[in-house]
Symmetry: C2
Subunit: 212 residues, 2 copies
DNA sequence: GATTACATACCGGCCGGTCGGTATTGACCT
DNA sequence: AGGTCAATACCGACCGGCCGGTATGTAATC
């Protein structure tokens, strides 16, 4: 019980694809035009549904915004837990976390762009929920940074807070400049970012080391 | 000629303070609520003026957004030129540029927050103008990064593009987390950021380092 | 008396959201 | 197996309200 989704109900069954289409259309439009500048009419037109359908699946326009980011955040948190569980070495773990963060951010760059711009448009309660979950991500990253700094020779006087914001600032800015037809693959960018941070906070990155 | 502002005109003289108050009120509200979520009525109420006054000084709501960021960008570009003209050493120049960028961003964090979120709401022409000017800033920073990497031992395989986006991503994220009542002064944060970047791209940031 | 600086009343339009209606389905009874 | 009922899925016309912007009037200053 519990995992079995075949709970039988009365009445006509819902259409999950319709719901997904609505969220997809909202994501596209919010990314292109912004949340406030996008009307629910535009959303239903792009999704090919009616207003009644939208307000059947969602109580308010704000729900769309919340669900758009909820999925991505859950996935990134799951990745974070997996990585920290599998990799005991803090230096490698931090590298892996940065790599995953960059790659998933690029993959879901529209979600990230929307959330970076419009997160303040959520209700205070929902904003707090996302804020709390994201805070956990921050704390894990900062702890990793501290451990790495503690082990190696600290050759930069940067606090874990500033370093973490350097990382997160980089990722949130990714949607602004990353172009899928550009010369670099997402994993290339992720590796560069990881090397950069690791080099700065004290580990000599052996294999990447070069001399002019 | 031209610089003389005392051109005498007919009719009642304008009130520059009123104009400034309107922009100030718009800045506050845009930062608090976002551009679209702020009505021109709210702006005039907060500024203590009437709608007629606003539309006498500005042709459209969009003008407010443009002027808000125009001033900051001009100042930061002027700072950039001053620093690069005064400091021939690329490593020191980069450090100084980062320091100035961080400090001015913190000082004008509301402008930066507004522009980071709402720059896409400008007309294409105006967006291009700001984009072009900002592009120049980017190019100078990347050139500095290249020069520093060329001189010192390169111990991180990060391209100037990624490094520059690390810097700019950090500064654009500053309004999201900097708190004036926090433990760190703006110059402290600026120094940490500069040390971090310089440490990562190959120079030991200790005073009196080698130069080829 | 020409010109500028504001004030105020006003407008068409679109906004997010609602609501009564209808079609479609499963549960249940016989 | 077939019919009945109730619950759900959607439809689309409609609403009050506010939005950015304007038009007209009046007071101040050259």
């Amino acid at each position: 019980m519990g995992t079995d989704a075949a709970i039988s109900r009365k009445g006509r069954p819902p259409n999950p694809q319709l719901r997904a289409r609505i969220i997809g259309a909202a994501l596209e439009l919010f990314a292109e035009q912004g949340y406030d500048a996008t009307s629910v009419n535009q959303v239903v037109v792009r999704a090919g549904v009616t207003k009644g359908a939208l307000y059947h699946y969602f109580a308010a326009k704000e729900d769309l915004l919340y669900e758009i980011y909820r999925g991505l955040l859950d996935q990134q948190l799951a990745d974070l837990d997996r990585i920290t569980a599998e990799e005991p070495d803090p230096s490698r773990a931090l590298q892996a976390v940065i790599h995953d963060l960059v790659v998933t951010t690029i993959r879901h760059r529209r979600e990230v762009a929307v959330f970076g711009r419009e997160s303040t448009r959520l209700s205070p309660e929902r904003w707090q929920v996302l804020q709390r979950d994201w805070r956990r991500y921050q704390d894990v990253v900062r702890t990793l940074i501290r451990e790495v700094q503690h082990r190696g020779m600290v050759n930069a006087a940067a606090s874990p807070e500033v370093v973490s914001w350097m990382i997160f600032g980089f990722t949130t800015s990714l949607p602004n400049w990353y172009r899928p037809d550009g010369p670099k693959e997402p994993s290339d960018i992720a590796e560069e970012a990881g090397d950069f941070v690791l080099a700065a906070i004290g580990t000599t990155h052996i294999e990447g080391m070069r001399t002019p």
